[in-house]
């Protein structure tokens, strides 16, 4: 009998203790958050342990998700010159190249963009492809799959794999021979779904100026809210709000309205089709 009661009391104390610990933890977290003590400055490095955890976490996560990627025959689909063109246009500013310094943009970030001659040696192709296509959350690394075609991405990977073994001279030659090359943009979109379209909205930074129904994002008042968009009669007060007009507008707002502050974001037409469909159907 007595042991039973003691047992029950023990369970009770442990529960209370656990709840108290959680509450104290949450309270401490709240104080750190609300007091502003946590510095968001890029000049303030993480603790050593945090740094190691983030670094290793990235490798584990990439390994897991990149597992599903089937590496094509790079000799067939990839072109190192094209890959270099992409690298030169989109990567070099932050990552630099053999003998080429990164731009100031790539120097002041935390986490600092890797110099890829090391990663490219160590990482398998699928991992490089995954990170290039999908980007890295909470770092400055964007997802490039909305800017670069799949073949272009594989070409970039091919270039990355080649890069660590290029002499400065060879690299200069590549640079010269690739002068006329340009990085291929995607021409098709994945089949429509709300989720992929939401990724598109983020990838074109739409949600930085617009509140978009069904999406988590900043509460912004730069452009009009796009909630309940299909009820709206006019696009930017200029075009009747039909699907086709909306596609036209998303692709080239500056051509349609002389005064609009909405920039041309180089949205490709298949992506604009999905965005328009999303906006016209999301409240159904």
């Amino acid at each position: 009998m007595r042991t039973g009661i003691a047992h029950r009391h023990k369970a009770l104390f442990m529960t209370i203790g656990a709840v108290a610990l959680v509450l104290i933890g949450a309270g401490a977290g709240a104080v750190i958050l609300l007091s502003g003590a946590y510095s968001t400055a890029a000049t303030k490095q993480h603790f050593g342990i945090t740094y190691r955890i983030l670094e290793q976490g990235l490798r584990f996560s990439v390994a897991r998700y990149a597992d599903k990627i089937v590496v094509p025959d790079l000799d067939r689909v990839a072109n190192v010159k094209v890959g270099y063109a992409c690298y030169r246009q989109y990567c070099q500013q932050c990552h630099g190249a053999p003998g080429v310094a990164r731009d100031p943009l790539g120097r002041g970030q935390l986490p600092s963009p890797s110099s890829l001659s090391e990663s490219a040696r160590d990482w398998p192709e699928a991992h490089l492809f995954y990170v290039t296509a999908k980007g890295v959350r909470m770092s400055g690394m964007p997802a490039w799959e909305f800017r670069i075609s799949t073949d272009g991405l594989w070409s970039t990977v091919a270039y990355l794999k080649a890069m660590p073994f290029l002499t400065k001279e060879e690299h200069r030659k590549l640079d010269t021979s690739a002068t006329a090359e340009s990085c291929p943009a995607p021409t098709t979109a994945p089949s429509y779904s709300r989720e992929t379209t939401q990724v598109m909205f983020r990838q074109y930074a739409c949600d930085n100026c617009h509140i978009i129904g069904g999406m988590v994002g900043p509460k912004t008042h730069i452009g009009p809210s796009l909630e309940k968009w299909r009820e709206r009669r006019y696009i930017a007060g200029v075009l009747p709000n039909t699907h086709d007009n909306l596609v036209r507008w998303i692709v080239a707002p500056q051509e349609i309205s002389a005064h609009t502050m909405m920039p041309d974001l180089d949205v490709i037409e298949p992506h604009a089709q999905h965005m328009a469909r999303y906006l016209m159907t999301m409240d159904e």
Binding site: R233, Y234, G237, V238, P240, N241, T242
Partner: protein
């Protein structure tokens, strides 16, 4: 809408049917109040008076028989006369109206040939077609607005093409239903110049509450000038901006439903727009009439009055919408 427009049975326009109803109402309320007070006084007297002091036979014959017979007869004649006065076009004195009820006196129906102004009002979900009979000439068709002179009565011939509606201008006359398959009549008259709101007084579907019109009364010369201008076809636009609007009207689907006399627009399922710019309201008393509401109505008819037959147009660019609204507004 502007609230200064009278639409109250308690504020009838002078010399109107509503004024007759108001008098009848006043007579009934005041008379009823007097009778009530007298009956109560008699009841108290009956309780406290000595039985012998009361002349029972006298009270029964006088108060129970003679008084009701006389009072009710007078009231009946009065109310019959008022009732007749509300509907008949002709005399306006009570006795003559009463006699007319029994076919005595000059009960011959006046016709537009005798100078009677006859206006056909057709109730539709949810607006009013208004047609002025013009002896020997083509009718003048407009919508959602009735104008009348202050010196004579107008006979409204009421009908409907869909469900039951009811025409009610509270400050001018009583309600008269518009019944499918029948025509009903209503006499409108007032010597007062003004704008009076009328509305549909019989639930007729989702936008029943937004089915109203304005009755504008004006001096005869103004009225005649107005009617003559309404009879004229619309002017072709000369201004290039208005011409853009004109072209937009025909490029879109507007002309399928609307008529604008003097142009190729000959649709009949929507209101005649020949002089839409001269009207007080848009969408049957729903909106004030200016370029902003016109544009909003064209682009968002289904937002303003959901379920009405006019679609929200997706045919026009911003400039076209403004030009179209400006052109329609210029049709005065």
């Amino acid at each position: 809408m502007e609230s200064s427009h009278s639409a109250s049975v308690l504020h009838p326009a002078s010399d109107s049917g509503a004024a007759l109803i108001d008098q009848l109402g006043t007579a009934l309320y005041v008379g009823g109040a007097i009778i009530f007070v007298v009956v109560m006084a008699l009841a108290i007297y009956g309780v406290f008076a000595k039985a012998r002091a009361i002349n029972a036979r006298g009270w029964i014959l006088g108060g129970g028989l003679a008084f009701p017979i006389v009072t009710l007869t007078v009231l009946l004649m009065y109310s019959l006369a008022v009732g007749n006065g509300l509907n008949a076009i002709g005399s306006s004195n009570a006795l003559q109206l009463f006699l007319e009820c029994f076919g005595i006196g000059d009960a011959r129906e006046r016709t537009p040939a005798d100078g009677l102004l006859r206006v056909h009002v057709v109730g539709k979900q949810w607006w009013w077609e208004v047609r002025y009979e013009q002896p020997g000439r083509q009718e003048v068709i407009l919508a959602n607005e009735i104008r009348m002179p202050t010196d004579r009565a107008v006979e409204l011939v009421l009908s409907t093409t869909d469900v039951i509606h009811s025409f009610w201008a509270p400050s001018l006359a009583g309600k008269v239903d518009m019944i499918p398959g029948r025509t009903t009549r209503l006499r409108l008259q007032t010597s007062e110049e003004g704008t009076f709101r009328a509305l549909c007084a019989e639930y007729c579907g989702g936008q029943h509450a937004l089915m109203a019109l304005y009755v504008v009364t004006q001096e005869t010369t103004d009225f005649d000038a107005w009617l003559a201008s309404q009879a004229r076809p619309a002017n072709e636009p000369t201004d290039p901006f208005l011409k853009t609007g004109y072209d937009a009207f025909f490029r879109g689907e507007c002309h399928e439903c609307h008529t604008i006399r003097g142009t190729p627009a000959e649709g009949t399922s929507g209101p005649d727009l020949t002089h839409v710019g001269s009207r007080k309201s848009l969408a049957a008393g729903t909106l004030n009439n200016h370029i902003g509401t016109m544009a909003g109505w064209i682009a968002g008819a289904q937002d303003v009055k959901p379920g009405n037959k006019m679609p929200s147009s997706l045919a026009y660019s911003g400039v076209e919408l403004r030009a179209l609204s400006a052109w329609l507004g210029s049709l005065e």
